[in-house]
Assembly symmetry: C2
Homo-oligomer: 149 residues x 2
């Protein structure tokens, strides 16, 4: 029977499981980045710029949910490290856009490959049907969460 208590139990269980998986992934993600010359927020910024194309500073802060003062320091460091550059917009020369440089793209690719290798090890023990069930479940959750943002 679908009582209030059952609903609460499911929600509490899902909350805890997602929090645990999140903690482990964060830790593993950090271990992976320690092999590259890049910090977690720098990787986040690279991924946002890769997925949304060239952004202004204001657009990047918004998408990263970061204060622009924090993001400015981050971007300065990334520019010095040759991961991105600030370039003038071709249509409106007054606008500065952030652009991923080839070094940035190859760092993203190497980090993502390392993350996939880690997950492949974890998932090697799950059969195909369970992998597909996992994909369907998390896809559904992702869809509902993204819509809500």
């Amino acid at each position: 029977m679908l009582t209030k208590t059952n609903v609460d139990r499911h929600v509490a269980e899902i909350e805890e499981l997602l929090r645990n998986v999140g903690t482990i992934l964060k830790k593993r993600g950090r271990d992976i980045l320690s092999n590259f010359d890049i910090t977690p927020p720098q990787l986040d910024a690279l991924l946002v710029l890769r997925d949304h194309g060239e952004l202004t500073m204001g657009e990047l802060c918004q998408k990263m949910y970061l204060a622009c003062s924090t993001a400015t320091d981050l971007i300065d460091r990334m520019e010095r490290n040759g991961l991105i550059e600030r370039a003038r917009d071709t249509n409106d020369r007054r606008v500065i856009r952030l652009k991923v440089l080839p070094k940035g793209s190859s760092v993203i690719e190497e980090v993502m490959e390392a993350r996939r290798t880690y997950l492949a090890t974890i998932l090697a023990e799950i059969d195909l049907a369970d992998k597909e069930r996992l994909i369907q479940s998390v896809e559904q959750l992702n869809y509902l969460m993204s819509r809500e943002v």
Copy 2:
């Protein structure tokens, strides 16, 4: 057929889905904490202390995967805010243990309740079978990941 490409596609898909869900949960988690007088690392520390009982500083840094210098600042602030206290071990008075104070416990409870309320809204649109499928899938993933740590 279970070709290498299929395996890679599943892994890449799961990696991306988990990363997206993680990003949204992190953002929502931060929104929730903005209503409380506590930062994300402070919540992490409170949860670790709640789940593992009274820990020494060294044990806490290890469980949080933090440099002890960073954790010391964090703990100092939390002690000033009345969330935790440093107390001498009852068996060995030379050892200092960190202990969650009642204010810390009630902050944890309120934050967890707010997180469950958010997730309940998201999950309200999923039927019971899908919720159970999600729990089974993430439970399996969590089990395999925890074992590996």
